[in-house]
Subunit: 254 residues, 2 copies
């Protein structure tokens, strides 16, 4: 039987420890091709490169997988892999492991998750993985068994059309992770606070900063599951229609 | 009575004809502050600027509105306007008028719509407007009455929490526009076809190109309404949870 073909991408860049761990985990399950950004692309959301051009290189990294570094965004990587690199349609697209959380509303800003969503838009099975630890030397090893189990379950039980998975992993030793919970996206937002500075020529400039404000304590919310030591899995869809409000809005707007 | 405060932004840049028309239309309804990108930001999706800094300028354009040009993305503009520029929370955020369609799946790639979604995430009333005409000298004037009517209806009947509007306007003379339809996002996708070229040094590079593949002929889909000469309005939400699949996925994944 042919091994499943797995495309791996991310938004932290092709040499980030998170993606190298994900490649290692996937090599035990399938044939792996990596197409990932050649530079950090955090917070790029679903951006694509339309007003400039792209280049790619095959780079020689350790392992039996093929590694291609692209000069674009995570979504560009998925598009480019499908059109120009992969020998056939992949059985699965995995993105990550992101250095830092993509729970709750962060799914919308996340390049990691946007790559998974793009794969879903292409009709592919797709999962984004994130670890709640921003540091470059985060410990990804405790996530191995959980990630491999989730991947095998998805390969055996394809996701419904139009759905991809957003998996977030708490920063805990393996034995303290309580299990996996399928959740809804928590109601939360970022509170902005731009940090104002003055450059050597007297001109003001700003850094985007802020804090995450979780307004949701529901037992079925991803933030709750994570805070209680569970891995959260949110099924994410890209039909953004608020179907439940169509009828009411017809009466007001038509 | 205080006039409503309206924040105007876009993704084509602050001097694009589309936003200048939207400003003109909004000045007849409220007090207008413009915070828009200083350069084209099409296809930037929900990207934010986290690894570099932002600067802004107040620029003197015709009219009683205030115009601020920011060195970031459309989503940055909304965040920056709320934190640093606006005198109070706006009553409405409008984005556009985009030069080109943001119907169907384009909502996810669109900087115009991502700005509206960001405003929705901030708990604000928000609408994105797009005209199905990419050209710089597109005729936006026929959209005036329709846009003003939609804005007045939303100011009088606030949208449900967590919902913003994606309004697309067909490229037709005013008298040929049949009316307004509240629709769902059509099931469609882009078929990629990267255009390969060779630079003067012999290295290959690529332009993202493709065609839009509408796979949906439903009478309630936005693409159908537009093709029949209607303005389409899709209520868009940013809770991406596929609630309808939670129970089933719990049985497989937990």
């Amino acid at each position: 039987m042919q091994k499943p073909l797995i495309l791996v991408t991310n938004d932290d860049g092709i040499t980030a420890p998170g993606i190298r761990h994900l490649v290692e985990f996937m090599l035990e399950i399938g044939e792996v091709v990596v197409v990932a950004p050649n530079s950090p692309q955090s917070g790029k959301g679903h951006a694509i490169t339309i007003n400039s051009t792209l280049t790619f290189e095959e780079i020689g990294l350790d392992g039996p997988q093929k590694d291609y570094s692209l000069s674009g965004t995570p979504v560009d990587c998925v598009k480019f892999a499908l059109d120009k690199i992969l020998p056939r349609r992949p059985d699965l697209v995995v993105s990550g492991i992101n250095h830092g959380s993509n729970s709750s509303i962060n799914v919308i800003y996340s390049g990691t998750m946007s790559a998974a969503v793009e794969a879903g838009m292409e009709g592919l099975q797709a999962i984004g993985f994130s670890l709640l630890d921003f540091s470059w030397d985060a410990d990804f090893s405790q996530a191995k068994d959980f990630i491999q189990t989730i991947v095998k379950k998805v390969l055996a039980n394809p996701l419904p059309p139009g759905v991809v998975l957003n998996v977030n992993i708490p920063k805990l030793p393996k034995e303290e992770i309580k299990g996996v919970k399928v959740c809804r996206q928590a109601h939360a937002k970022w509170e902005e606070n731009f940090d104002e500075r003055t450059n050597p020529h007297g001109k003001k400039y700003y850094w985007l900063t802020g804090y995450f404000n979780n307004m949701d304590t529901g037992q079925d919310a991803d933030e709750t599951a994570l805070s209680e030591g569970y891995i959260s899995i949110v099924p994410v869809k890209f039909d953004l229609t608020a179907h439940e409000h169509l009828q009411n809005l017809r009466q007001i707007l038509e």
